[in-house]
Symmetry: C2
DNA sequence: CGAATGTAATTGTAGATACAACCAGTGCGC
DNA sequence: GCGCACTGGTTGTATCTACAATTACATTCG
């Protein structure tokens, strides 16, 4: 019995399954490269965001990366436990700011060559046009966010 | 103190953070739409794959979706528990085949309108060129896989 | 000032994800 | 037949992810 038309359409056209597949593929490639450093790409993403734009309150980091605040909360715990981030108190007693530590910066510097190699691998997997399209989409998203 | 050049480069150019961000965004949009059905996009992806190409052994499904066999093993457990998939024994005593059940097919049929609406939303977020580029990349990947 | 409302973060819970280790069954060579 | 390598799946463990509920503080309004 052949699959019904609606199922065939979903299989052939679904964009979500494709993005999610690429996400798994790319996360795997990155984590492979990062394994010697004892860090994962999810963590590096947060470290880079904080190193670049920080110090920032957790909620702000979560918003920029489009992740739930609770997810970021626990990710930050791990990064703080590893000595790569610090939490500094602020005027607002409910919150605090996340900042990169010297150890965190050092980690990013050491990771950089692996990151460069990874970018090449990802570009080879995705193709230049897809890389450009995705970059454009997310850059627009970030611009609109402000 | 401004971020070091390497950090700035990683923040500006990293393709992984972008794909992963889009993955979270898109997964959230889909799961929102699917919530009334008590199912998530990860599960729908598997159901569609099995409904379209199945019955298939678990390892084969995992390969096509580029996910770890252990991940698929547990996802399949949930889908079987919900009555949407069945596991049928095969000649090879180590393995079995996953097949869609009538309930699973019915679920997919009921989801279809939501899926259509979701595709529109995703296209609006990503833009037509990005949708096209990603589809092309993954279609190539699947073609090469055979 | 004090209560109600709002906001930021954390915690409880559950699913999705993958690596390593393991188990079970197959198939091959002898 | 027997042992041994191989293959396919599951289980142990850890991280990533998000929704719902909670907690702690801030702000606003009377």
């Amino acid at each position: 019995m052949p699959a019904p038309a609606k199922v065939r359409q979903m299989a052939r056209e679904c964009i979500a399954v494709r993005v999610r597949l690429l996400n798994r593929l790319i996360t795997g490639v990155c984590d492979d490269g990062l394994r010697p450093f004892g860090v994962r790409v999810a963590q590096v993403n947060i470290l880079v965001a904080v190193a670049h734009d920080g110090p920032l309150p957790p909620g702000e980091v979560a918003k920029r990366l489009v992740m739930d605040k609770s997810t970021l909360s626990r990710d930050a715990d791990r990064l703080i436990a590893n000595g790569w981030l610090t939490a500094e108190p602020t005027d607002d007693g409910r919150s605090h700011t996340l900042g990169i530590t010297p150890e965190g910066l050092d980690l990013l510097e050491r990771i950089h060559p692996v990151w460069v190699a990874g970018q090449k691998k990802l570009a080879a997997i995705l193709g230049a046009d897809t890389v450009g399209a995705i970059s454009g989409t997310v850059n627009d998203l970030w611009a609109k966010m402000k």
